[in-house]
């Protein structure tokens, strides 16, 4: 009897999670709906742009995927670090640093076609990984919170990059801050004509698969997950938790660094980044939506990208501004992250299952 009960509770949990996810998005969209009706003179038009805009044109579908690529890299990055219970927020710094590293390799290192972008992406990954390892090292050595140090280091990363580009690679003929042009061999060429999707997409797919394999199928992934779930238990079992703390954060930064390189070499032919990309918390959003599982991260990234492209379309064509979308995002995250959301409903489900067995 107890056996039956336990099984049922299990299925209640997965069912409940699915329901909660859908309701969270539903509530957030409802809030968006209300806001749009409040601010827009043509609310139906605006809604159409928001929901159907992203699939109205082939180019727009391309936009969804373009937007989803860096989001996926960041989501993978954050997921691996969070799964180890390391709250390293350095992904956006690592991404910026990775982009800059790739740019510099594209500027100074002449390499043959085909090898050049791979070297640039790999170097960007290593730089990103080393960067996010700094908070890990500080934590192990001095007990500093990785959350605080990684957030602060984002600013350091950003300013170092801008400093290097401005002082050593700036194209004085360009009106704004930009480097000279990269060697053409370094660029990731276009994969889908009519969009800006490059061969970077294939690299990303490989990275998603590798991340999933790493997390669920290897001994390192196992040690990482156990450390994340209960560090005392991991230590007690003889798992080297210090190693996990280091490699989880190195890999997180590595993926973010690759993401930066992929962006840089797909969308630009020279370094043009002017400010910190707005990615700071995007990785966290995607990671939370994807339950910190690499296999779900691309889906979460696509969902977020869809909403963003829709918002973009709405703000260009309609009279509702893009900021609206930050509000929707905020709601989704709060509702999904809030453990107690729909708790009463869950309790009812559990009680029903439990007493039905009488």
């Amino acid at each position: 009897m107890t056996k039956l009960l336990k099984m049922k509770t299990n299925s209640v949990d997965s069912r409940f999670e699915a329901i909660r996810f859908i309701v969270a998005i539903g509530v957030a969209l409802l809030v968006a709906l209300i806001l749009i009706f409040m601010v827009s003179k043509e609310p139906f038009q605006a809604l159409q742009y928001l929901f159907l805009g992203p699939i109205s044109k082939f180019r727009k579908i391309g936009n969804i995927i373009e937007t989803a690529i860096p989001l996926t890299y960041l989501g993978l990055s954050v997921s691996i670090m969070f799964a180890a219970n390391q709250f390293n927020m350095g992904s956006s710094g690592a991404l910026f640093l990775g982009g800059t590293t790739a740019a510099i390799i594209g500027l100074v290192l002449p390499l043959p076609f085909g090898i050049h972008p791979l070297v640039a992406i790999l170097a960007a990954g290593v730089m990103g990984g080393l960067w996010t390892s700094i908070p890990a090292f500080l934590k192990l050595k001095f007990g500093a919170s990785e959350l605080v140090s990684s957030l602060m280091l984002n600013f350091v990363a950003f300013n170092i990059c801008i400093f290097i580009i401005m002082n050593y690679f700036r194209d004085l003929n360009a009106g704004t801050l930009a480097s000279t042009k990269f060697f053409e061999t370094v660029l990731l060429s276009n994969l889908v004509p009519g969009t800006r999707i490059s061969y970077g997409l294939i690299i990303l797919v490989i990275m998603v698969i590798l991340s999933w394999l790493f997390m669920s199928k290897t001994k390192w992934g196992y040690a990482l997950r156990m450390t994340g779930l209960n560090v005392n238990f991991a230590k007690f079992s003889g798992i080297s938790t210090a190693a996990v703390i280091l490699y989880s954060q190195f890999l997180g930064g590595f993926l973010a660094g690759m993401g930066g390189a992929s962006e840089m070499l797909s969308l630009y032919d020279r370094f043009k980044w002017q400010m910190m990309p707005s990615y700071a918390f995007d990785g966290v959003i995607v990671s939370v939506l994807g339950k910190q599982k690499p296999q779900y991260v691309p889906i979460a990234a696509l969902l977020l990208a869809y909403i963003r492209v829709g918002a973009d379309t709405m703000s260009i064509n309609g009279d509702v501004s893009f900021e609206m979308i930050s509000i929707i995002q905020g709601f989704i995250i709060i509702l999904i992250a809030a453990n107690a959301f729909l708790k009463k409903y869950r309790q009812k489900m559990v009680v029903k299952e439990a007493t039905e067995n009488d």
């Binding site: 156990m226 779930l229 238990f233 007690f236 079992s237």
Partner: protein
């Protein structure tokens, strides 16, 4: 006799789906000592937590003096004159006894707390109930028995008429238990009503007027204590005849596996937690460790298993000095560890049973192909372990937090016992789990002993250590104060005298536990 509390048709379902109370009816009359007995996990604590407002009912009603009441939190229950002393004390160690007792209802002078009045009040209430305590003493310096007195006084200070005691004797020595019982009798004479949760039948028979027995979340009746025998109670609790016989053959100890010589452990406050401890554990024997909690047993386990490092002395496992060894390296010598705190160290509750079984084997050759885990082999192996260790679950992929305490412990034990351990450190191996699971673990321990493991058993449950151990050492104040070569020849009362430090053996007698 006047009924003071009545709980009707209580149903409690926890968020994890466990039904802790099902149609429970419970009633207490004024001025009685009412024992609430049942196996671990039968729902006694839950029922009392509901009465004290810590948990809320799913269905059912509570009446206080025939008025229906709803307690949303303990503060409301306290206001209605209900007090509870928990199994784990809820005191602030760095404050004095007086400060702890008035906490939550401090006497004030202006905006400041009136310390002198607090001390005076504490003295008064202690005298009224004949409790011998010093209000100015810090709680961290008090013994376990005193801490319990403080908890009781605290409840009385806050106006408790009904006092709930959750397994109050679990942490006490036999002598302290006697003292507690005298105090409870006195409280009863003064008109207080007491609910006494226990599963120690001797005590229940001795102290209570009436008994309510719970089994598997239901109540199986309330009885006048003098009208039921211990055997009756035991049968009602378990629902079947309990076989107490362990079928233990005499130990045949062989060569020494663990050699502990002159170890000391000094903490950052320069306190000696272990001082000059020496003993040996031999192949094929169970060495029991007893002592009142906080006399060095925990520290001993920590240094043997690599969770902490000794300050002085030497520990050898299979003739290897473990100085500076990581937990991993110590485990590789063949040591297994059942930790005292199973939720903190023994498992990752959100991980599956399979993942929990794997944690000390995940990088062993049999389960790996390159860096990849062999999913199929692991799954088959964990299925077999779940079966062998009778873990009640639908699937080995179920998260461990869905299991009951006894089944969680079976997962821990299955993991720790599956590598043919040479040394087993079993720290409270059956604390808080049901009789069936406990018996199963006991049998396994004896089986491994017979297969040649050296076992160190630390337990606060005296019956357990005395039944299971071949030899016994007593810890008092970080030292071994007694060694008994044959544990079966001891009685609880005598052991209690050693545990309290009233008696101790000569150095020569203690030195016998080194064998060489």
């Amino acid at each position: 006799m006047e009924e003071i509390i009545r709980m009707e048709n209580i149903l409690k379902v926890y968020p994890n789906g466990i039904v802790a109370n099902r149609n429970v009816n419970f009633s207490i009359v004024k001025g009685e000592i009412h024992a609430l007995v049942g196996e671990n996990g039968a729902g006694k604590s839950t029922l009392m937590k509901i009465l004290f407002g810590i948990e809320q009912v799913t269905e059912g009603k509570i009446f206080l003096n025939n008025q229906e009441v709803v307690f949303n939190n303990p503060q409301e229950a306290i206001k209605h004159g209900i007090g509870m002393v928990h199994q784990h004390f809820m005191l602030v160690p760095s404050l004095t006894i007086a400060e702890n007792i008035v906490l939550g209802d401090e006497p004030k002078s202006g905006i400041m707390m009136d310390i002198n009045k607090a001390i005076k009040d504490t003295k008064e209430i202690a005298e009224r109930y004949h409790f011998d305590i010093d209000p100015k003493m810090k709680v961290e310096d008090c013994s376990v028995g005193t801490k319990q007195k403080i908890e009781i006084l605290k409840a009385l200070f806050h106006g408790a008429q009904v006092l709930i005691l959750d397994e109050p004797t679990a942490v006490l020595t036999p002598q302290e238990t006697e003292e507690l019982f005298k105090e409870l009798q006195l409280l009863k004479e003064k008109g207080h009503t007491i609910v006494f949760i226990s599963h120690k039948l001797n005590e229940v028979k001795e102290i209570s007027n009436r008994i309510t027995i719970m089994r598997a979340a239901k109540d199986v009746g309330t009885y006048q204590t003098e009208k039921v025998s211990k055997e009756d109670i035991s049968n009602l609790m378990v629902g079947k005849e309990v076989l107490w016989d362990l079928n233990k053959s005499k130990a045949q100890p062989k060569e020494t596996t663990v050699k502990v010589r002159n170890i000391s452990l000094i903490n950052e406050h320069q306190r000696e937690l272990l001082s000059d401890v020496s003993f040996s554990i031999r192949k094929g024997e169970i060495l029991g460790v007893v002592g009142v909690e906080g006399n060095g047993q925990r520290e001993l386990v920590d240094v043997l298993t690599g969770l902490n490092e000794i300050s002085l002395g030497k520990i050898e496992i299979e003739n290897v000095d473990i100085k500076g060894f990581s937990i991993r390296k110590i485990r590789d010598l063949g040591l297994s560890h059942i930790p005292e705190d199973r939720m903190k160290l023994g498992i990752a509750e959100r991980a599956s049973i399979e993942d929990n079984l794997l944690s000390i084997y995940y990088d062993k050759k049999d389960f790996l192909k390159g860096p990849f885990l062999k999913a199929k082999q692991i799954n088959e192996w964990s299925k077999a372990k779940v079966k062998e260790y009778l873990v009640k679950t639908g699937s080995e992929k179920t998260p461990v937090k869905m299991l009951s305490g006894g089944n969680i412990q079976k997962v821990v034990v299955a993991r720790e016992f599956s590598n043919s351990p040479k040394v087993i450190i079993a720290d409270q191996p059956t604390r808080g789990i049901d009789v069936g699971a406990a018996q199963f673990i006991h049998k396994k321990l004896i089986q491994l002993r017979d297969e040649g493991a050296a076992v160190l058993l630390v337990s606060a449950d005296l019956t357990e250590v005395m039944d299971l151990s071949d030899s016994l050492i007593v810890f008092y104040n970080g030292k071994i104060t007694a060694y008994f070569e044959d544990a079966s020849k001891l009685n609880e009362h005598e052991l209690g005298l050693y545990m309290l430090g009233i008696k101790h053996q000569s150095d020569e007698e203690v030195r016998r536990c080194m064998y060489d």
